[in-house]
Amino acid sequence: MTGETTSVQSIFFNSPEEAVAALTTAVRSGEAGDQIHRALGRMPEGAKNAVMAEVGNVAAGIMKLDVTDVFTAAWRKHSALRTAAEATLADPDTEQVVELATHSVSFTHEPSVEVHLGNLPVADISLQVQLQVDVRGALAVVKGGRLTAVRAGSADVSGTLTVVDHQVAQRQVTLELPLTIRLGAGLPLAVAPPTP
């Protein structure tokens, strides 16, 4: 087990370098490339290429979103976990291990990269990340109102990455949740009521 987090980027690409290269290629072609070409007018081709490479680089950076955040955002909505959180918050001497029923999580993320020329935005390159995650056999540990660990379970992830309506990548991967989820000091699922 390594201490590295699993990012959305790593779902689609084998390495950060591959992500930058693929996104730069995507930005240079199609509607994205046209947008930037139009926006930069008669700027030298070399400079345009540099701008598009930077757009690809920034787009790859945006995709370094930790998948733990996706799972935790989903599980905050999960009734069984919330119930366990409230119970353990009320009784600090207890810990609950919740075996979640199989469920699915859908995630949509639509960041964009703006190109500013001078002081003004002249191009807006939109990205869309869609993930469909099927979670099986997750064993969640809840303590003190927090999700403190995921001891078992796996997630089948299928995702598509689109740059300005042009599909750049499509992947299917299986993640082992104990190796993927990094909860640190625990994810708060319930909050103690205010002290009067």
Partner: protein, 818 residues
């Protein structure tokens, strides 16, 4: 026998009355000797002190007792006659020395005094140990410090614990008069809630008595107000100019969801938080206008609701005198026609080192340098619509100290309808316009219409332009990165290898390639004529040691030193009229004495061998900026030998043109700046010239524009002339509408020219970094992640509940025997 005796005056009096014994008999009874001893002589308010009473003679039994502090006599301690002890709680009295009084009797009798009167006293020290938690209001994630301080020198705090937000923290100090514990408000603590903080400490007093004290307080969780940065991108603005303001959140977890600038109209922010508002054209110079802004934000910080903020920015409106003056010829042109711009510096010591001009949606062109001027020929785009457009120019410069500078601006320009095929002045299609497009009788001065058709002024397509493609190409920058066919510049300082025989020395990264200016003389020539090309370095510390030049990569000519400069003389090849490429190369010694080479190309205008050189004129306004009501002299001069001016006119409007008069220094028109001229740098003088050529009687005419700045002046009331209502309105509407559409290009030009001139970075070469005028900004959606869970209410398959049973640890120590 039991004898009740109470110490004290009243007690003795009572005994005397009840037992009228003879004095001798009374003396036979020994008085009781009651003594009191406290279990501690130092305590904190609230703590108990126990006093044990004993009777020394053993003849009596203590049957009543009471103790109290002199500082709080109404709080009398309780007495247990069976054990002859009294207990009192230290009242809330000031810390420090205090007196504990006691009263006791050896017989049961009523206490006559309502307020106790002491039989004795014990010195007691009331301890003062303060516990404070700071701050009482804290942000999530921030620390709270718990300080315990004993104010008595002889008190030692032995240890403490603080329980806060479910965690127990021990003090981080050694025993002493002060202890401290640090706890942290949980990062997910809810805004507005209160978290209990419990503490416990042990101490030992000056009487060596140990004590333990507990207490609690609460910490209120309050998020700090979110902070935002609303930063204008410029300190000042001008009438009719765009004014960008950037909005950013400085608080983690708080995102701006919308923002807006308002001044008469509103301008919303882009997704990255940049709003650009047009300053009205009638904004008064030297006034301060107040832009209102507002923003909306959302927060992911627990318990914090979305909110809004509003404020205002004061912006000074200024009109800055120009540094450069631009002459445009002709004043209007049809699509496909050339427009000539001559740019000159108005500030002594500031030299132009490069410039460019371009129309919207056109490639644009770079300046050329002749012996007399910087000029650029650019072409009206073939698809330009007749009517008003903006002709943009930009200049890179150096001041006397070598510091680079840049400037740019626009001139409102009129695009004429395309000429009918029969009207073409360039049937050969060479692209060379050999005469002004309009030829008139010398006595008639043609006034090109600057007042464009209203339908063009408000043309929605101008402001609806989605993107700016009007940037000029800087790929025409002299450069030949491949080096193929490049000339090997002869280095005068080189050894015997001679010109071109030396390998190109490396240019070190920390000594970037300098920039060069290539001057051609004459500006244009016919095939077979000679052209002198001079290469000079922009940086005076760079020494040109050799150079060479050639037309069309043909055999080049090495430079020769003449008049302190190196020049190559080359002959114009027999080619069609139009622009041809001149390749040049240079060897130099940099400011740090490192040798280097550079090369590039410039375009050169080849004239039609059978035609006259086009008439061109220098038109200069002195001064180049004046306030309304001021007077300026507009001087006209022919730049072509054999072309003589026979008359000219200049003025701001077609109905107020002033005739020239011939002087020793040229043809000069005295022009008055209209009293109602609105200040700003978008104005233009119009001029036209009638001329003849030597050896011919055919008259000619030329016209053009001259950039001019109207400086701020005290406005004159009631002088809204036709100038203001038509011309001023038109160019400002043009400037406002079209400039907004093409703003990015314009705003970026200055920086790009600077980049283009930047040594070591020839235009057209592949760049590894984006130009500094370009920023790439990631925009991540605000708010929580968009995640949906199917069957979120499904019951768990299994639920395991673990309960901890905490027991005190048992520690056993076995010691070895002696």
């Amino acid at each position: 026998m039991v004898l009740s005796i109470r110490r004290g005056f009243l007690a003795l009096a009572a005994v005397a009355l009840a037992l009228p014994l003879a004095p001798a008999q009374a003396a036979a009874f020994e008085k009781p000797n009651i003594q009191a001893e406290a279990n501690r002589t130092a305590a904190r308010p609230g703590e108990q002190i126990q006093v044990k009473f004993t009777e020394a003679t053993r003849e009596y039994r203590v049957s009543e007792c009471s103790i109290w502090f002199g500082e709080a006599p109404s709080e009398v301690g309780t007495c247990d006659p069976d054990t002859a002890t009294a207990i009192v709680r230290v009242p809330a009295i000031p810390p420090g020395p205090a007196t504990l009084y006691w009263d006791a009797s050896a017989t049961a009798r009523p206490v006559l005094n309502l307020l106790p009167e002491p039989d004795g006293k014990i010195a007691v020290t009331v301890l003062d140990i303060a516990v404070t938690a700071t701050p009482q209001t804290a942000e999530p994630g921030n620390p709270v410090t718990v300080d315990l301080v004993a104010r008595d020198d002889n008190v030692q705090l032995l240890g403490c614990e603080v329980r806060f937000a479910g965690r127990t923290t021990k003090c981080d100090s050694e025993p002493g008069p002060k202890l401290r514990a640090r706890v942290t408000v949980p990062s997910d603590a809810v805004h507005g809630s209160s978290l209990g903080l419990r503490w416990r400490y042990d101490y030992i007093g000056p009487d060596r008595t140990k004590g333990r004290e507990r207490g609690r307080t609460s910490i209120r969780v309050m998020l700090a107000d979110p902070e935002f940065n609303v930063v204008p991108r410029a300190d000042t603005t001008g009438p009719g100019m765009p004014y960008p303001v950037a909005f950013t959140s400085l608080t983690t977890g708080v995102d701006i969801t919308g923002c807006r600038l308002t001044y008469r109209t509103s301008a919303d922010c882009s997704r990255s938080g940049l709003a650009v508002i047009m300053i009205p054209a009638d904004a008064k110079p030297d006034s301060t206008i107040t832009l209102k802004w507002d923003l909306q934000y959302s927060s992911t910080r627990p318990g914090e609701a979305p909110g809004t903020r509003k404020g205002s920015l004061d912006v000074k409106v200024v009109v800055v005198p120009p540094d450069f003056q631009v002459t445009v010829e002709p004043a209007a042109a049809a699509p496909g026609k050339e427009v000539l711009l001559t740019i000159r510096s108005l500030v002594p010591g500031i030299d132009i080192v490069g410039c460019m001009a371009f129309f919207p949606n056109a490639p644009g062109d770079l300046c050329r340098r002749s012996k007399y001027r910087w000029y650029v020929r650019t072409t009206v785009p073939e698809d330009a619509r007749p009517g008003a457009t903006l002709l943009r120019w930009s200049v890179a410069s150096r001041d006397a100290d070598g510091r680079p500078g840049a400037d740019d601006d626009v001139i409102a320009y009129t695009v004429l309808p395309p000429p009918k095929p029969s009207e073409s002045s360039d049937p050969a299609g060479s692209g060379v316009v050999v005469e002004p497009s309009v030829v008139v009788e010398p006595s008639v001065v043609v006034e090109p219409s600057v007042v464009v058709e209203p339908s063009v002024v408000v043309e929605p397509s101008v402001t609806a332009e989605p993107s700016v493609t009007a940037e000029p190409s800087v790929t025409a920058e002299p450069s030949d990165p491949s080096g193929s066919g490049g000339l090997n510049p002869p280095d005068e300082t080189a050894g015997s290898d001679g010109p071109g025989g030396e390998e190109t020395p490396p240019v070190f990264e920390d000594d970037p390639s300098p920039a060069f200016v290539v001057v051609t003389d004459p500006e244009a020539a016919k095939p077979g004529e000679q052209v002198t090309l001079t290469v000079t370095a922009v940086d005076p510390d760079v020494e040109v040691t050799g150079c060479a030049a050639a037309f069309l990569r043909r055999a080049g000519a090495p430079c020769e030193r003449s008049g302190g400069r190196l020049s190559a003389t080359i002959r114009v090849p027999d080619v069609k009229p139009g622009d041809v490429t001149v390749h040049w190369s240079v060897a130099f010694r940099s400011a740090s004495a490192r040798p280097g080479t550079d090369e590039g190309t410039v375009d050169y205008r080849v004239l039609d061998a059978g035609a006259d050189r086009p008439a061109e004129f220098s038109v200069v306004a002195d001064p180049a900026a004046a306030s309304a009501g001021g007077r300026i002299a507009v001087a006209h001069r022919s730049l072509v030998d054999g072309v003589s001016i026979t008359g000219c006119r200049a003025g701001f409007t077609s109905d107020a043109m002033t005739d020239c008069r011939r002087t020793d220094t040229g043809w000069i028109a005295e022009v008055a700046v209209p009293d109602a001229a609105a200040p700003g740098n978008g104005a233009a003088l119009r001029w036209n010239v009638a001329y003849t050529r030597t050896g011919t009687t055919a008259p000619g005419a030329a016209d053009g524009l001259l950039s001019f700045t109207v400086l701020a002046a005290v406005p004159v009331a009631g002088t809204n002339s036709i100038w203001t209502t038509i011309w001023g309105l038109i160019w400002r509407v043009l400037l406002g509408g079209a400039l907004l559409a093409g703003l990015a290009g314009l705003r970026g030009v200055r920086t790009r020219v600077r980049e283009w001139r930047r040594p070591g970075r020839p235009a057209g070469a592949d760049a590894t970094d984006p130009p500094e005028s370009v920023r790439v900004v990631p925009v991540v959606p605000d708010g929580p992640l968009d995640v949906e869970v199917s069957d979120a209410d499904a019951r768990p398959r299994r639920l395991i509940r673990l309960t901890y049973h905490r027991r005190s640890p048992v520690i056993r120590i076995s010691e070895e025997g002696p």
